[in-house]
Amino acid sequence: MSSPVKSKGARPKTKAGSDTAAEPAGEPVKPARAGGNILIVGVGGQGVLMIAKVVALLAQKQGYQVKQSEVHGMAKRGGIVFSHVRYGPEVWSPTIVKGEADALIALEWAEGLRWLDHLKHEGVFIADTRRIVPPFACRSRKAGAPINYAKETPADIVSRVADGFALDASTIAEGFGDARAANTVLLGVLSASLAYPEADWLEVIEASVPPKSRDINRNAFAAGREWALAARANPTLRFDSSITSYEAPAGLLQPKITLEINAAWCKGCDICVKLCPERCLALNAEQVAVLKSPDACTGCHICEWLCPDFAISIRTSHPEPVTA
């Protein structure tokens, strides 16, 4: 997750505008003649491979040789999916070496951060700020517990990379009727960094999506491209400034869990003790179940349902949200 660009402002922050005075601000920059390395990352179901396909077809259309490789083993369960697309006059290896990606496109925020070290110093970083929190980030299973997920905000990351864009592409896509078109919004953003004709982009996108979603994708692409051109012209628009913190808000509404053990009914069978996923029960010296770590109890009811003697009862009450 460490970015190769350590010092803030050590390099020119943008490719466009600042160094090419001849080019009007907001115009797409020229592509590298030698081709490019595009890394697309996300989680299952987001359309990583669709982006990869579009980029690959587009590069082919420009007469480049293209190699694409991908990993999508856990795709169905929201697991990591990534795809490397390499194109140029002649391409040998299908994978992008660390620090060699010209563009990193992240459909999921934490995945983007995870792959930052693959980006070239001057590479383009494009990410959806929408977060998909994986189950293993929820170490504490208590309702409302803080999650172990990247705390960096879009502002943090965009200031750390040379050429970053972080936008709520999912919400933009939702506006066109399908959040799944977020990937096409990101393609629109990418299109503003690669000077290939807009018509070519639209042609390959239309060839890569089902006919009934063509309109949505065309709109999503246009919205992404427009957003990126505006952001190139005005760097304050490069990140979604509405997100000021990914920290869990203090004092999240935790339900109040009351676990009662009726000692007179408990027969000390040990089922609740051994089957509690949080290991919060124990048998005392009299072989009666006791709650030894109330703080760890999630109120999951397993002990209650499996106690053959109905000795445990759990009540959860949800506090009313406090209006600040």
Partner: protein
């Protein structure tokens, strides 16, 4: 149905128990208690009035379970709860009638009643608590005792093949057949709930642990080990298979196993009664 479940008061088991009889007589860790909870939970979700609920049970530890329910309960003779329940339901179609029976009660001495109850398809629910043994009488072999298991009547290990009670019920005509393990208490509640709601004969097998007699005699571990191995048996491959030799050697399939559309006998019987009465010239 889900709509209704959500708007209900939370389930408080004490509302459904005869508190003066508690704690119940069952041994520590006995699965029958878990099954009883699942049944009462299902009754709660279906919002059945306790006065309109009749529990008919046979004998054995399973039969004894009914005595703790604060509803109309009948503790009947060995193997005959289905026969009593049939009469009751025909006379009082307004009642929800649930039979609680054991593997010995239902499949051995009561086997004939079971197949004919399935055949008639009267709107009853039969909850069979299968612990593979005659628990109450000290651990004799039953029609579901697994191969090679030790019981007082099979001191060298059981050599008889077993019944698959669910297949038997389906073949005999039960229009709803389900099975669940007590380990999956919520799923068990769901099967029981769906079975009671089903208009026709519902047969539900609850896999339950006889911890004190069968578990002890066969070295199946303490109560927690026994209930945990119910699950390893369902999905042996997920638990390393060979290493933890499953508690029950057969692979259990759980959930709703069969549903068939057949005429419900209660309605057919009432039609018949009307027809016979209205025939002129017939005696009475």
């Amino acid at each position: 149905m889900n709509e209704m479940v959500r708007t209900l008061e939370p389930f408080e088991i004490k509302d459904y128990l005869r508190l003066q009889l508690m704690p119940h007589f069952m041994c520590p860790g006995c699965g029958h208690g878990i099954a009883l909870r699942a049944l009462l939970w299902a009754v709660h979700e279906l919002a059945i009035d306790k006065n309109k609920l009749a529990i008919v049970s046979g004998i054995g530890c399973s039969g004894r379970v009914g005595a703790y329910i604060d509803a109309n309960t009948f503790h009947t003779t060995h193997g005959r709860p289905l026969a009593f329940a049939t009469g009751l339901k025909l006379a009082r179609p307004d009642l929800t009638v649930v039979v609680i029976t054991g593997d010995g009660d239902c499949l051995a001495i009561g086997g004939n009643h079971l197949i004919h109850a399935c055949r008639r398809n009267l709107d009853l629910t039969c909850l069979m608590l299968n612990n593979e043994v005659y628990g109450m009488t000290g651990g004799q072999v039953s029609p579901t005792t697994s191969a090679n298991r030790l019981t007082t009547t099979t001191p060298g290990g059981n050599a008889e093949p077993t019944f698959d009670a669910c297949k038997l019920a389906e073949a005999a005509g039960a229009s709803f057949v389900g099975r669940e393990v007590t380990r999956q208490a919520m799923a068990l509640k769901n099967v029981i709930r769906d079975g009671i709601a089903h208009p026709g004969f519902s047969f539900i097998e609850a896999i339950s642990d006889c911890t004190e007699i069968y578990g002890r005699k066969n070295d199946l571990g303490e109560s927690p080990e026994m209930i945990l191995s119910q699950k390893s048996d369902m999905r042996p491959e997920a638990f390393g298979n060979v290493a933890d030799e499953p508690f029950r050697p057969n692979r259990l399939v759980t959930g709703i196993l069969a549903k068939q559309a057949r005429p419900e006998y209660g309605a057919a019987y009432r039609d018949y009664a009307v027809r016979v009465k209205s025939k002129p010239g017939r005696p009475r």
